[in-house]
Symmetry: C2
């Protein structure tokens, strides 16, 4: 078959304005410019260990984070036609409330301008062919630390004026108390009303104590926080939404979960079983309402998953809970997980996901094409 | 087809001697006998909340925990021919070092006696048909808090004299510092030498902070700790074994992971990708040795999984990482997750797993039979 359309829905940027802000900071998140060598990006609190020399903390940060031309080169190298770019974690979570609205507007306008200039058209009515040329769309960021949810709702509504925005990216902290916070109601309502997709992405991981303490965690570099902490953070966040009845109250909310849902597809059965056996819930004789809709229904109607899971087993679970192959979308997590040796043009982190998709859906060319790009083009109205 | 042999490899007991010990305690784990109503079992530290009246803490504990006749009735009700019983969490983890050896011997002798009396034969050479009659085998417990690993090794070797013991059950704490503790080397070596299967089972979950604090955790009853904390605890424990090179040093170690590996099958790809991209590891230019064997190889040669995952998606991931259908074994988690309304004879927690197996392997009768009992009979030499 001819090469299908490929859309990357999980790919991050730090616009130059955001990089400058990080450089001016001295607490997480921040960028440190050593006298010699590459700048370092310290975004995880576990990386900001005073025992580690500051020139070795965090990870090297190069132009792939902020120079859109580097992303376009990466896309061409990996056969990606279109990317839906999003601000990388920790977004604007850490901002002083007084600065949140201004920064969200600035970043979202920057993202829109980047997409428009690459696509050579700011006019949403002028449809362009997606395939065979590089195009960009964006997930916007929200001013979650703003003094009132009204400001967040205002920004969500303003996003309708930005023609390349197709959703919003959000961490698991919400207004600071997680995504089961009742104060988020107006935000969920605004997302439902605008039908903007909410891309839920981890950042905070798990407390080091979960891994046996800070010393054990550090012993294995980033493996425990990134491989296990991140996916569980996503799973906890969406389970708290479920248990607090967010999906009962906002049944049209549309979520895209990072890393194929963290571990949600695998644990969905256990979560549902624990709900069925929870004595605290009203239906079992308790006093807490408990969710009304089953997790299986929510996975088929409210949740989309990326295909960033690096293996056939994960993809099989992800596609099974979706009930069909039309809710799964290719992504790369660029610019994270770059090759560790210089000169490698093909990123292992990307080819691993390509291969897993091909192996999982072998002999089903249409499914491969849907997961690689067709689903994203349809779900996000990219064409 | 005729009804296949059904073996339950995940089913717990508290022998009467253990129950008596719990009744004599006032700190977790303990049993509280209220003046009115059923006794309460408080085994999770999160359940021992002083804000909850003591008569409502934990969960009701009835004779299903300690009366083997109740288990035999449960087995007959659910078509289970043979059960491999194991002490329930938290095993002997909490014992004073001076008591550990004595209690391990006592519990293991109790388990052996129970199996022998039910099977009406203490002679391992006298093979009995498994199917159509109720038979018991056991996973023994280890004196992990003993003052020296030598005592643990001594008990492992003594287990060879107990004809119904087919392995050992262990939590994730090890000697108190997790399963990547170098001091566990002699224990792994003894398990390799005896080829006793190590049934790895969660108990400690995650710190409440992972779920947003104690108040959020308690808000949803047991759902967050049991549905998410338990599976991640198992995943963290086995990942720490992998990262600390336990499977490189003890390549013949055989593990059975509870709850289909927690989340390991789903996260295996991400774990392997994070290892490939970890700068701290020698192969990537760092100073930490890092694991030599891939997670995919270990999942196919060192790890068995139970089928206690309550859904098709989880089972598909579990069987995919095993490379075949011969490493997956039916279990119930009895006596946990009983029906919440009286008079229900069929346990939802059991029928959910039966149905998931049938749906996952529909039209493959031989695979269904293997997962339900054939694999366990072969792997544990039950016949």
């Amino acid at each position: 078959m001819s090469k299908p359309l490929v859309v990357d829905i999980h790919t991050h940027v730090y616009p130059p304005s955001y990089m400058a802000m990080l450089r001016a900071r001295k607490t997480v998140p921040y960028i440190h410019d050593p006298e010699q060598g590459e700048p370092r990006l310290i975004i995880l609190s576990s990386d900001d260990d005073p025992a580690i020399p500051i020139d070795q903390r965090g990870r090297p940060v190069d132009s792939s984070y902020s120079d859109i031309n580097v992303k376009l080169t990466f896309m061409q190298q990996h056969g990606i036609d279109s990317s839906v770019i999003s601000l990388a974690n920790p977004w604007l979570d850490f901002l002083d409330p007084s600065e949140a609205q201004e920064w969200a507007r600035r970043i979202n306008d920057d993202l829109e301008e980047t997409c428009a200039s690459v696509n050579l058209s700011g006019n949403p009515d002028q449809k362009l062919p997606l395939k065979g040329r590089s195009s960009l769309f964006a997930f916007a960021v929200l001013p979650l630390s703003a003094p009132s949810p009204d400001i967040i709702v205002e920004e969500i509504k303003r996003l309708r004026s930005l023609p390349h925005v197709r959703g919003v990216i959000m961490g698991t902290s919400g207004l600071g108390n997680g995504l089961d916070d009742e104060k988020l109601g107006p935000v969920w309502a605004a997302l439902e009303e605008t039908q903007l997709l909410l891309f839920l992405h981890p950042h905070y991981g798990l407390p080091n104590e979960a891994f046996g303490g800070a010393e054990v965690t550090a012993r294995y570099g980033h493996v425990l926080p990134l491989a296990l902490g991140f996916p569980l953070e996503t799973t906890i966040a969406v389970t708290r939404m479920l248990l607090s009845r967010v999906f009962d109250k906002f049944p049209r909310l549309q979520l895209l979960l990072a890393h194929s849902g963290g571990t949600l597809p695998f644990l969905a059965g256990r979560i549902e079983s624990c709900i069925m056996h929870e004595r605290n819930f009203v239906k079992n004789g308790g006093n807490v309402p408990g969710p009304q809709r089953s997790i299986w229904e929510i996975l088929k109607t409210n949740i989309f998953l990326d295909a960033v899971v690096y293996g056939v087993a994960g993809l099989k679970a992800a596609v099974t809970v979706g009930g069909a192959t039309d809710r799964l979308m290719f992504g790369t997590d660029h610019p994270f997980f770059p090759p560790l040796t210089e000169g490698e043009k093909d990123w292992l982190s990307v080819t691993t996901n390509y291969k897993a998709i091909e192996e999982t859906f072998k002999d089903e060319n249409e499914t491969v094409a849907a997961v690689l790009g067709g689903n994203a083009a349809r779900i996000l109205s990219l064409e």
